[in-house]
Subunit: 286 residues, 4 copies
């Protein structure tokens, strides 16, 4: 994939139990090769006792050579690691229902803003957004979901994920709940946008709840999906100011802007390997 | 207090069941007197069916003359109304515990920023902040509260409110819960600052909860106090961005800035008669 | 267009020299008809001495009947006024070059978010964005502009504006400067988005300037176009936080989000008759 | 000062020409000692070709031992470096005129929020704020400045800086311009708060300018002071939303909140060695 003679920029992410010598072990191995670190961020979480590192390095090594050079560090510190090429587009499947704003936004950013995702397909439980997928040249899969066909629909989804070699699933206002089993199987690979500032207004109709409560800010939360609905690790949140004069429909419209911006940041950071899991929390190296 | 021969700027707030002719009835009565409306805001809440109006008017009338001119409208539409002189400083009692940031901020704004409050006293259930009150020339009342003395302490508080002719009580990080009875007696006159973005993280230790949940924004909520703790009508909310690297102590420090700014806005708007109650919600004419 | 027997919601905007009795004259005339004011905002500018009013009123009158009822007020106070039906979609022409983000955003909001504009055409001085116009079913007019053909191109533009009965022209990242004469002819009808927080970084390459200066926030400004480039009355501004690590290309990408959101708000407010001109400034009744 | 047997947390900042092996040289030297890096941030500026590093390390070494261990790296890469104890309070002199908000805020944060500054004195060219200094137990020096006494006043200031061993001078709304010579002598040690979003509205009366221009956001900028007034490297900026209804006096009051918050962040980051100079720009490791 990458040629040893042309220098490539790699992104390496690591997590392991905290302790002395971690950074030195990694940077020493790279320095010994003469490779140049261009970006580096680290965080030691005193609560979990875990250490997190993300760095970008320019190297003329092949992937195998790099891994070989780093393996003593990986093994010596019991590291969980990922190594990828900077800017490689992550194979992504978008799941939608009827609301278009997040879909339009992500497809636009893929095409025009250099977001490093490669949307390999769009799945809708309704057919409404097929034309938008078509405009961007994306295959659209209509997989309806009813109470009776839910298991079957998930099998189709699962088959698609395998067949298309999907690395990331984005629930872009997909109004179906994934089964616990699917959540577990795709742990850390599914990002959702929830239309409230979690943990406020969990569950259905959050804008109606927000209106009733008379809040002065409405928000959106992008998080990894776990079996525990709306409780997965939070990646990004944002809010917008509203006032008493806004009806529920206004809140929904204003909320759309916050949702798509929040989801877009979460997807970009994930695709750039900037998000690391730290138990129920995330470390985001922006 | 006001002299009929010098024009005074008045602020009038009104709420009543919505219907045609309300604004005309009020503005017609003022126009008939030749008075000039300088500011006006209105809102009809389709949910509650209530209409809200706030206006400022320059008039050479006495208070009695103004009320007389407006009484047909007041009575014809079943209005609840308030009439005050613009800029009159509202007699305010501040309740504190040990945290100084909101106290320092409000006293500073009273003295230097023209916030229209007249702080007639500071009550602390701890003596720690007496020196700050003294610096600003405010009487400090130490009223300790224990489980056994709570009723007695509230009697002292109540006596102080009456004796000092208090119009507004501000819980400036006062770490005691007022009794249901006191809440009812002072309904619409007590403003609290809650150190979270309600309804998230209700109850104790919200910053610890926020840290545990890994939120990316922390917030503060200023609201009227009702018997239902942390559930009173919200006046103002704000947030500040945080990330994974912030410990609970950092969240507390960052939160202080949001708290004092949020509380200051709520107090100012209340003192300027910009906040009207609409059931569980507020109408804020900023 | 509107039927006298079905009540219609109208929006009325007024500006005139400030003085007593203005609001009463208008609301009295409406109350005499039994019409119900549903929204009202006003502002007296002490600097310019002008008074501004925007109100929405539900009435079963025809337009002619309403105007007749209000004419004594209009004439008595020397009012400049506009009367429109709430929600009527304003005939809008979008001018673009190569950057797609504002175009995509406005067309999406017209179709899916109820923004009250009717995009009657898209003009590009480059052909690049024709496919996006086509997807949304909008006629695309390629009008190239060179030094030599500028006058001719403006004639084409002007013809299009007349032929399509255009009420609003939006420069959605249109990288050409309109002639002074065209600016004057379309005064108050042309909205631009400038990719900086004006008055910082006027002129070309604002993101490069912002990078060089090391600013910590980048912004966008939406304003009416006047002959004085980048100096027209400001309608809306917003900013986004950046840091030292952002290259010029990052600032451009981040800026796109601010630009499209800022422009969308300005266009919506204009189309809802919420923006009134006050000399070099605007009054925005949000 | 620090005892070799108790581990101390140090903060090390470095800048040097970019190239391979820098991080490894530093972290390797620390790892060889068994010291644990707890925080680390780096940035390579492709424009200036400079590399910046800030790290915190827990070590039982004395300062001399640490420097000795790092000297080969310092010298090998031509590094400019600083080594300090984390949390050590930086000796700070505050310069003020009549406006109290920044002074009150900084003194409060020093006392109650753990901002790592040690305010060793307050200088006022007016005597107005002496009582606030006194309340916080700070010596107040009244050094009036007139056209004729400016040189003499600066001599007094300079003497104070030396005598009190001042490391940081904060212009907390000090309405005098320092001479070029003094700016040069204290380069990188003087922080100013400018009451606008630079580079907008440079010079005097920025809020009046902002009002006249009708901007929708007002801002503040904290920057290092250089001879080139209002053009020094920017450390932090922030904005607040305003609308047409705000008079100049309102903008000033709203601006005060932005100013004090912006200045406080800049001072904290500087005192924590989070701000590094990169030509006309700053690198801020937040």
């Amino acid at each position: 994939m990458t040629d040893a003679t042309t220098p490539t920029e790699w992104v390496l992410t690591i997590s392991c139990p905290d302790g002395p010598g971690i950074v030195s072990a990694i940077t020493g191995a790279l320095a010994a090769r003469g490779d140049n670190i261009t970006e580096s961020q680290q965080f030691g979480d005193p609560t979990s006792g875990l250490f997190f590192l993300r760095l970008q390095v320019v190297s003329s090594a092949t992937r195998e050579e790099l891994v070989a050079a780093l393996t003593p560090a990986f093994e010596g510190f019991g590291m969980t690691w990922q190594l990828d090429v900077v800017g490689r587009r992550m194979r992504t499947l978008l799941l939608v229902s009827k609301a278009a704003h997040c879909l339009v936004d992500l497809l636009y950013r893929e095409r025009s803003q250099g977001m490093p995702i490669d949307v390999v397909g769009v799945v809708g439980n309704h057919p409404d957004l097929a034309d938008i997928a078509a405009f961007y040249g994306k295959p659209f899969h209509h997989i309806p979901v009813t109470k009776d066909t839910k298991a079957e629909a998930e099998d189709q989804l699962r088959a698609l994920v395998e067949e298309l070699d999907v690395e990331l699933v984005v629930l872009a206002r997909y109004m179906q709940i994934l089964s616990d089993q699917l959540c577990r199987d795709l742990a850390g690979q599914v990002i959702n946008i929830h239309h409230s500032f979690l943990p406020s207004f969990k569950g259905a109709r959050p804008y109606a709840q927000a209106h009733e409560r008379g809040v002065k800010l409405i928000g959106a939360t992008s998080h990894y999906v776990t079996g525990d609905l709306d409780e997965g690790p939070i990646i990004e949140q944002d809010v917008e100011r509203v006032d008493h004069s806004r009806a529920v429909a206004d809140l929904v419209a204003i909320g759309e802007d916050v949702e798509r911006a929040t989801l877009a940041r979460a997807v970009r950071w994930h695709a750039e390997h900037r998000v690391l899991l730290d138990g129920r929390r995330t470390v985001v190296f922006r």
